[in-house]
């Protein structure tokens, strides 16, 4: 193996120092070798970037077939829901843009959006199909993490408005195990716990009954859980909206008119 000659930092005339050599190399010259070298380094950079991205992409391959099927079902469902939303918004947008009704259409659309946002923010009452769950827990074995898990499972099954006892559950709801029970958003909920959720009744009750799901866990506590599907359910509890003191909108709420 040849030995690399030690780098000589000389100031001698005609003997370029290493920095000078680097500068010489950095000067672009259109020789064939340079072009080829550039091409190779471009390919190397591309390969590195792809590999890094490949490493970060989630390995769906590590899941089992059953889980993949579930994810595919959910993804397809979400996709068609998004398509429907897009279609509705498209219709609204077209209606507003042509606006032959003198602004009334805009107001109606805004009101409809306001209603939906109110339900999502917890400041408006809602009604629709859903399920009613009652958890009877004489020994007090149900704790906050269990209820929190129940809420997440309900959301995963498509619940749109949820109420536990007299408390409306929204995005920022937090669950606490306090001395004698459970608090949601600082309000105590008493046993037995009654949970109302508006959404597709079949999907939600199946989600509760899956192996390892909420029903199985509750029954193993031991406690009892009853789930009834209902065609018409009302979520009447309201959430007090606190004006955010630190979060502010990124862009002004309305963009310039096109």
């Amino acid at each position: 193996m040849s030995q690399i000659p030690p780098a000589k930092a000389t100031g001698g005339a005609g003997d370029p120092s290493p920095w000078h050599r680097l500068r010489l190399m950095a000067r672009p010259r259109a020789t064939k070798a340079n072009v080829f070298a550039a091409l190779l380094t471009i390919i190397l950079g591309f390969a590195m970037a792809t590999q890094v991205r490949q490493n970060q992409v989630l390995g769906l391959e590590s899941l089992r077939q059953g889980e993949l099927v579930t994810i595919l079902d959910n993804a397809t469902l979400q996709s068609s829901r998004l398509e429907q939303s897009a279609r509705e918004l498209q219709a609204t947008r077209d209606e507003l843009v042509t606006d032959s009704t003198g602004g009334a259409a805009a107001l109606a659309a805004a009101q409809k959006r306001l209603d939906a946002l109110g339900i999502l923010a917890g400041t408006a009452r809602a009604h629709g199909p859903g399920i009613r769950m009652t958890i009877v827990d004489p020994a007090g074995k149900v704790d906050a993490p269990l209820l929190l898990n129940a809420i997440e499972e309900l959301r995963d099954a498509g619940a749109e408005a949820i109420q536990v006892g007299d408390v409306r559950v929204v995005a920022s709801s937090y669950f606490l195990s306090s001395g004698s029970g459970i608090e949601i958003d600082g309000t105590k909920v008493t046993r037995p716990y009654t949970i109302l959720a508006i959404g597709d009744p079949q999907t939600m009750s199946s989600a509760m009954e899956i192996p390892g799901g909420l029903s199985e866990t509750v029954r193993g506590l031991p406690a009892t859980i009853t789930i009834t599907q209902q065609n018409e359910l009302a979520v009447g509890a309201l959430h007090t909206l606190r004006t955010p003191r630190y979060a502010r909108l990124v862009a002004p709420p309305v963009s310039a008119a096109p």
Binding site: A110, L114, Y246
Partner: protein, 301 residues
């Protein structure tokens, strides 16, 4: 370049120097020397039958092992890769629809702004903006913190899907599960966070954090590790209260299993919105209270 000189600084590293300087079997050199001494040409011919036989053997060995060791494209594997392909196609489609929805929403807002301006319905516009902020459909920014949590380092073995398939039922103490994220996010809300996102997905009233096998999904979208939780809230206060409450103690507990959690306060973070948030089944309850008095939308005492 010989390795036999006395006093060479790497004389003790004979293994490595031997390997690198004399990769060729010394038998060749020795045999060549002895042949030269007895007057023959140093190299033998290429046609000896023994050589040909061994060449055939080597060829057979190469292909046999290649075929024996190839990962079989079993029926299960092809089904799985088909499912993965369809999932990714569906997700790409969903992303496209999301972008379209965000765009349409912007246009609708603009048209409404124009109409509101004409009809002097600024109250309605303000209410809309307030609820959009609360529901999480619009991006927000402000002071806050960034909490990063990741699996324990020894767990990282993503290249071995068979291992994952067999052990995903067992509890792996070094892995971050969905219930860990539940506890952390719950703690952040309790500590006063005003908006939270995980890996760029805003948490809304319909957001579900759920595990499917090895992956954690938010709103049915799988998360890549590490999990970066961004929260906007009162600087200083949120992290202190979080450390004190159940969320903070859960994070502390996870540290015992080498699950790394790291909180950084920032003067300004941004949390994206979820423009696709919508309702399918829930309808508003028509109430006697007129809609033009939003201040009355409060919980009854």
């Amino acid at each position: 370049m010989s390795a036999g000189q006395a006093g060479r600084p790497d004389a003790s590293m004979t293994l490595i120097t031997e390997m690198m300087q004399r990769p060729l079997d010394p038998g060749y050199a020795a045999a060549a020397e002895s042949r030269q001494r007895s007057g023959l040409a140093p190299a033998t011919g290429h046609r000896s039958p023994l050589l040909v036989l061994v060449a055939v053997l080597i060829g057979a060995l190469l292909t046999t092992s290649a075929m024996a060791l190839r990962v079989p494209a079993t029926g299960a594997n092809t089904i799985k890769s088909d499912l993965v392909r369809r999932i990714e196609a569906s997700r790409a489609h969903a992303d496209g629809q999301t972008r379209l929805i965000a765009q349409l929403q912007l246009e609708i807002n603009a048209a409404q702004a124009a109409a509101f301006g004409q009809q002097s319905q600024t109250g309605l516009a303000a209410e809309l903006s307030r609820l959009e902020l609360a529901a999480g459909t619009v991006p927000v920014t402000g002071p806050g913190l960034v909490l990063t949590v990741d699996d324990a380092p020894s767990r990282v073995d993503r290249n071995n899907p068979d291992v994952g398939a067999q052990t995903s039922k067992e509890f792996d103490s070094g892995k971050v599960y969905d219930r860990d994220l539940h506890a952390i996010v719950n703690g952040l809300w309790e500590a006063g966070a005003e908006a939270i996102s995980i890996n760029g997905h805003r948490l809304t009233a319909r957001s579900a954090i759920r595990a499917a096998g090895e992956a954690i999904l938010v709103d049915f979208r799988p998360l890549t590790r590490p999990y970066v939780i961004t929260a906007i809230g009162e600087p200083g206060s949120v992290s202190v209260e979080f450390a004190d409450n159940d969320g903070g103690s859960h994070l502390h507990l996870l540290a015992n299993y080498n699950i790394r959690g790291d909180i950084q306060e920032r003067d300004s973070v941004s949390v994206p919105g979820e423009p696709t948030l919508s309702l399918q089944k829930a309808q508003p309850v028509p109430s006697a209270v007129t809609k033009s008095a939003p201040a009355t939308l409060r919980a009854p005492p």
